[in-house]
Amino acid sequence: MSLPRILVIDDQFGSSIEDRRNLCLSFGLRDITGDDTTPENIEAPLAEARFTSAQKQVNGVITNDVQIALSAVGDGWPHKDGWRWSMVLLDIRFVSGRVDERGEIEGGAGDDDFGMRILEEIHKRYPDIPIVMLSSRERKKVLEECLRKGAKDFIQRTAYSPDTTPPKTVLGQKLFEHALLPDIREPSDGLKIVGNSLSILNILRSARTMATGRSNILLLGETGTGKELLARYIHDMSSNLAGPYVVFDASHTAETLHEDALFGHVKGAFTDAKDDKPGLFEMADGGTLFMDEIGDISYNLQAKLRRPLEERVVTRQGGKKGIRINTQVVLATNRDLYEDAQAGRFRSDLLNRINVSPITLPPLNERRDDIPLIAVALLEILCRKHSARWPRTITPDAMERLVNHDWSGSNVRGLRKVLEQAVLNSRDVELIVPSHIRFDHPIEPVKVQAAGVAGAAPPRPEGDIYISPAASKALTEKLFEQGKLSDYYLEMVNYVLWALEKSKDERDNEPIYPKAWFHLTGETVTGSTKWQREIGKIIFRVSNEDIIPLMKKSGIFTEAVVICGSKVDSAIERLKELASLMKESDAFKNAVQKGIAKSKEGSKSKKNLSDILRSWEDANKA
């Protein structure tokens, strides 16, 4: 769907095709009602419109009927073909009664405010649908009542001055402000926000509204939910911005370089400052600066952000002169900045300045209806990227797998990875079938790799699953300091377990996995007591809620138990705790039994696990 669809509820335009043609022409609407055999050809239409009169005529008498209006709204909220009304335009006066020989309708009691009744009923039943009143009544006389009853705005159909804004421009403004519009841009890289779920359409509307101002915009949401795409959307929607779109990613830039990247320097500010250099704030002047992973910026640098964010003034390092900038700043993070502020890791005063009305992107699991649309859009991009066959189709059962998968933690990025794997494994097929869909990348090691400490990583092996022990260790410590470990634990567990599982099943078949196994078990785990402890801590400090489902994957869990059982006291304690939590759980019993079987005779691990199993059995007997 390239144009938004709106529903127009109006007695006259719903019934008189000739009048409707004129309305469509002046408002830029393409009539899709279906009852006009020769509709006007509308140049550059703003929207498609379906018309209904909300009336019925029996024996020459016209009656107003709220149910007709509600039924028309329900047809497109949401429609079975995946679209939904972007907006409803609603008249106020609906003339009813007997039709005389001149075609005049006599009028009836309640006609004058029948539109208000419809408004209340629609708003009650479909509170999220944007309703804009369209009437010839004087705006100031009825606006307040309309807003009170749930309308978003009011368009006075005919203004009294001949020089007022043309109707098409007025409608365009109202659509921009209030309508639920999908992202219909056509960016050169093909990347845009795909989706027709209410949550995403509401977010796009908020983004458009905020794009018209100059305040700081904070985007929140899990990794892979599309924060950068939304930042780009905000930039593109800022019609008053002619300047560039500039990105600063705190997690991809060494911390020591953050200040220089953002503020720049003057010649001689420090040893290597051979020339003046503008920072990204200045480079984005007249445009947008997108600051990703804002939570990764050091506490000291956070203090320096206040002036550019509040006063729009920056001073280069070593410089004395403040430079005024006209930059829209969009900030993003997947962290809980409130929690960070309470823990003293993020400055409360900065948080107050950037957190005026944050936009939170929903995880993919909360907008599953969008997965088919996103999957098809991604598939096209990926097929073109890899020169694979296009067009192609995802079969309904394969799509069902995608829709029902748990995308926690990976979101659209995870979906992209699954589809990319499917494309790479089947470059020349017409159909993507369930066997092409493999969910074997619960996390993205790239993120871990990227966040690692420069210089700590040994030469990278083939494949993208490598994580260097030194980098991981350093990262773990860094994340401990920043209080970010709760998320990281889970990612690490997923990562380790994923690698373990792969090595178990495929170590002899796939060229990549043995290397992962080697680095995790051969070199890293079995070769380093210290690293074993790290993994042990990580695995066994995961919350009960998270670890119990993991334990049910007994093969995976067994490996973890064998690795950690002999070395990590806290792991043993945790296992004992889990034994009491998982009474009568065959998964637990199986995992521990397998762990015992795999442990070497006489090892501490075997003894520990046997003790735990015995206690578990005793508790169950009791």
């Binding site: 004129n22 002046s26 005919t158």
Partner: protein
């Protein structure tokens, strides 16, 4: 002129549409019909002006819609004509409890309060203004109709630049003044 003269008549001679009927007529004419008539000009004023300049015949369905005004002229005339009485407090004499007064008293009191009402509200001035606007609109409409049907020469010269758009402006001003008339009987 007929309309203007009407306001100079004695109150007892004017027509007698009550307030509710007059408001109903105003709703039908002004809100229901005229505002929707305006969509023709929102959509087609430029096209019609171009047609006049380029001496092209306008489409029959557009001309028909434009013509619809003529059928409504008498109704607008009546609306203006009836407004003086429909908004006059004299009407209250026909309603309970004043309706119980003796007819003789009602006659003189009616004339007094009607005169007071005219004096205080300057209603006649507004209605004379409206009547003048209506006369002008009727003339312009007739002229434009001829132009849209293809007549040119002297008439076209007389019409000036963008005559349809100017006509639309004139009608919108007419609509604004109608809209500014009160709905309720004016108590003085």
């Amino acid at each position: 002129m007929r309309l203007c003269e009407a306001f100079l008549l004695a109150s007892s001679d004017i027509a007698s549409m009550n307030n509710a009927d007059w408001n109903n007529l105003r709703s039908r004419l002004h809100h229901d019909w005229l505002q929707k008539y305006f969509t023709l000009f929102d959509a087609r004023a430029d096209e019609m002006d171009r047609g006049i300049i380029e001496k092209k015949l306008i489409r029959a369905d557009i001309l028909k819609k434009f013509d619809a005004w003529q059928a409504k002229e008498p109704d607008f005339e009546a609306l203006i004509n009836e407004a003086v009485f429909a908004l006059s407090p004299k009407q209250l004499l026909d309603e309970h409890p004043l309706s119980r007064m003796p007819d003789d008293d009602k006659a003189w009191l009616g004339d007094v309060i009607h005169a007071l009402y005219l004096e205080r509200t300057k209603m006649q001035d507004k209605l004379v203004e409206l009547a003048g606007m209506l006369s002008s609109i009727c003339l312009t409409h007739a002229l434009l109709k001829k132009l849209l049907q293809g007549e040119n020469g002297e008439l076209r010269e007389k019409a000036g630049e963008r005559p349809v758009k100017r006509f639309y402006g004139e009608m919108r001003e007419f609509s604004r003044v109608i809209s500014s008339l009160p709905h309720e009987v004016q108590v003085v």
